[in-house]
């Protein structure tokens, strides 16, 4: 166990060498951890599996990390619910921002509950005030102690004290039994026809959901200690999981290809905070005027579209900048918007014979899953299929949050420096990974609305470079893993920020910059992980032996 101090916060870190150890630790101390950071390639378990399990069982934000920055990998991370994907080597700056994932998740938990409750306008006001309250509480607490869970080959941060926010719910662990009850209840309720709601906009779906959803499920499950909020959040994840399964089973997507760059949507959605989320709601309404159509076909497409646009949003990031730090979470409005929308998908079992298009024509309801006897029958006949598959349900976390609000000027700079150095290295290298880092930084710069940076001028200068960077790097990214990309090409798109970081000789400047900021030396717990990559069981005593080994020639 160790401590990190990041951004003025104290983080307790617990590390594990194996994923199963991590899971055990997490299960033992439910609510004892705030965030999990995990490697992708681990000896005993795939990082994505761990990600899913953690997301589902403990509903924690999970950050993936790997040296492999391939778009497909990152996408996989996103689909499985990672709230971030860090490329190794991991910079200190990135670690300093990790707390924001936790913060955001807390905010969304509260907001999601409120939204699922009912009346739209009432929701908004309540959201605003609640968020404000929560934000307040959380902010205050953040400054004192924040428990982070680091899961690297896995590591955890241990929790110090009890709940630090008044609205924090005790974590519900969805055991297999509990989940089976849930699924049964969902199947029973889920296909009652619901009347078309008269509400417009994004809330329509959620109102629909609210009527049929968590409350009813809760009642049907008949588990006394379970709250509707628990069910609600679990329901969201379940839907995502099912929709992801559907996609994996290759059902046709009338909304079109996934890999369409759709950055404007993302940009508009990219902030956090109650103010922004409400604004985004408004923009959603305006953007998605098609949404109001009563026809099922259009609505259905819109369902898919919105889901797809979520996907696009998610995917567009990789296409544009194959994430270095991928905060490709479905931004806030998507969470609001897509949760109702996702109903279209989740409860449809992952069968290829399901023709999604057929749903439209047959059923006038807004959400395909409402009152589709086919699906209902199928699900009823095979609840075990879903249950079995869902025993450790891999849901892409709904709680994916755009980290767009967190600019990182400094890492961008550091990347630039390292990149120039790397450019002079081997001709054969994974260029995209460098590009990714660079452009991902760039992406953040360009997109972010709120500045948490320490220097605004820095931001401005970098923003412009970032945008140029984005455009020019896109072509590099889209090539996948070109092994022999010309050096010149890369050098051309290399950063040339005003501070002349291209000159490696000026590394000194950057170094002193770190010190100037009065930043703490984080204990680089993150570094330890990849050193534990052997198949051997992680033995803490081994580590301490090395600890004591003084290297003296």
């Amino acid at each position: 166990m160790s401590h990190i101090s990041t951004s003025g916060m104290l983080c307790l870190v617990t590390t594990c060498g194996l994923a199963r150890d991590a899971l055990n630790l997490l299960r033992e101390r439910k609510g004892g951890y705030d965030i999990v950071i995990s490697d992708v390639y681990m000896p005993d378990m795939d990082g994505f599996k761990l990600l899913e399990q953690v997301g589902l069982e403990m509903d924690l934000p999970v950050i993936m990390m790997s040296v492999d920055g391939e778009t497909s990998r990152v996408m996989k991370g996103v689909q499985h619910g990672a709230c971030d994907y860090l490329l190794k080597p991991i910079r200190m700056k990135e670690l300093r921002n990790i707390w924001q994932h936790v913060f955001r998740k807390k905010i969304h938990e509260v907001r999601d509950i409120e939204i699922l409750e009912g009346v739209e306008s009432f929701q908004m006001t309540r959201n605003g005030s609640d968020l404000y309250e929560d934000g307040h509480v959380l902010c205050g607490e953040d400054l004192t102690s924040m428990k982070k869970r680091k899961d690297i080959d896995s590591k955890h941060n241990e929790k110090d004290t009890g709940d630090y926010t008044s609205t924090k719910k005790a974590r519900v662990v969805w055991s297999v039994d509990l989940h089976q009850k849930f699924v049964k209840a969902v199947n029973q309720i889920g296909f009652d026809t619901t009347s078309l709601s008269s509400f417009d906009g994004a809330m329509t779906g959620s109102v629909c959901l609210a009527e049929v959803g968590p409350k009813k499920i809760l009642d049907m499950m008949n588990v006394p200690w379970l709250t509707r909020e628990n069910v609600a959040s679990h329901l969201q994840k379940y839907r995502l999981y099912l929709s992801r399964l559907q996609k994996e089973n290759g059902f046709r997507n009338p909304a079109g290809g996934i890999k369409q760059s759709d950055s404007p949507l993302r940009d508009s959605a990219g902030s956090f905070g109650s103010r922004n989320s409400i604004n985004l709601q408004a923009s959603d309404v305006s953007n998605g005027s098609y949404r109001f159509s009563g026809s099922s076909l259009v609505v259905h497409n819109e369902d898919l579209r919105s889901h797809e646009s979520d996907r696009k949003r998610v995917v567009s990031t990789p296409v544009a900048q194959p994430k270095r730090t991928l905060n490709v979470d479905v931004p806030n409005p998507c969470i609001l918007r897509s949760s109702p929308m996702e109903f279209g998908h989740p409860l449809a079992p992952p069968r290829s014979e399901l023709d999604f298009g057929a749903f439209d024509s047959t059923f006038p309801t807004k959400y395909p899953w409402c009152g589709i006897p086919e699906i209902q029958r199928k699900i009823e006949h095979d609840p075990l299929h879903l249950n079995g598959g869902f025993s450790h349900p891999p849901l892409p976390g709904q709680k994916q949050h755009t980290r767009a609000g967190y600019p990182q000027p400094a890492p961008a700079i550091s990347c630039a420096v390292s990149l120039t150095e790397r450019e002079t290295g081997f001709p054969v290298k994974a260029k995209p990974s460098f590009n990714q880092r660079r452009t991902n930084m760039a992406n953040h710069q360009a997109v972010e609305l709120i500045s948490r940076s320490t220097s605004s001028t820095e931001n401005q200068g970098l923003n412009m470079n970032c945008i140029a960077e984005l455009e020019s790097s896109q072509r590099n990214i889209n090539l996948g893993m070109p092994l022999f990309t010309t050096l010149e090409e890369d050098l051309q798109v290399c950063w040339i920020p005003a501070d002349c970081y291209t000159n490696p000789g000026l590394q000194n400047v950057e170094v002193s910059e770190f010190f100037d900021r009065g930043l703490i030396k984080d204990e680089p717990v993150h570094l330890n992980d990849e050193l534990r990559f052997d198949y051997e069981f992680y033995d803490p005593t081994e580590y301490s032996l090395i600890d004591q080994t003084m290297f003296i020639a």
Partner: protein, 169 residues
């Protein structure tokens, strides 16, 4: 300003330096900057190593050497595994090799071992193509680069110690 290169010669900066990292020694009014250029041209260590160094302070005074030792320890395990895989005439599990390499890449990049990482990338590319000859060649290179890095780091730590001792006296 002094430049100390790894052949343990000291000279003033008379040519363009490609520093790998820098140590500043402040002694009253006199500041001596040791600019370490670890290798003849291509950075053996990159900026990540600098970050590593920044994490070393009074509370963890041997941090860098500890981490580097862990890295050596783990790397040697990996190299053994890789060697074992390649020596096997019936070897066909390139995927396993790829996983080892990813791990090696990750750890090397986290420590700032630039060239080792680059060789791993090439190695991994060869393994993804199931190119046995390429893998063998890359494996040779990897061992070479790793040994080189290890030697350089040893020298670096030696120099550091000498410098500390000299400053202390």
């Amino acid at each position: 300003m002094y430049l100390e290169d790894t052949q343990v010669t000291q000279r003033n900066i008379t040519y363009d330096v490609n520093p790998s990292f820098v140590l500043m020694d402040v002694d009253g009014l006199r500041v001596v900057v040791y600019v370490y250029e670890l290798i003849d041209g291509e950075g053996v260590l990159d900026e990540q190593f600098l970050q590593l160094q920044q994490l070393q302070d009074e509370s963890s005074p041997n941090f860098v050497s500890e981490v580097v030792n862990i890295y050596f320890h783990e790397s040697e395990k990996l190299l053994r595994n890789l060697r074992g895989l390649l020596l096997d005439r019936d070897f066909s599990d390139y995927k396993k090799m790829g996983i080892h390499l990813i791990q090696f890449m990750g750890s090397s990049s986290s420590i700032g071992a630039n060239r080792v990482r680059n060789v791993c990338v090439a190695f991994r590319a060869a393994s993804e193509q199931n190119n046995r000859a390429g893998c063998l060649r890359a494996s040779e290179l990897l061992e070479h680069e790793y040994c080189y890095l290890k030697n350089k780091l040893h020298e670096l730590f030696q120099m550091e110690q000498q410098r500390v001792l000299a400053a202390g006296i």
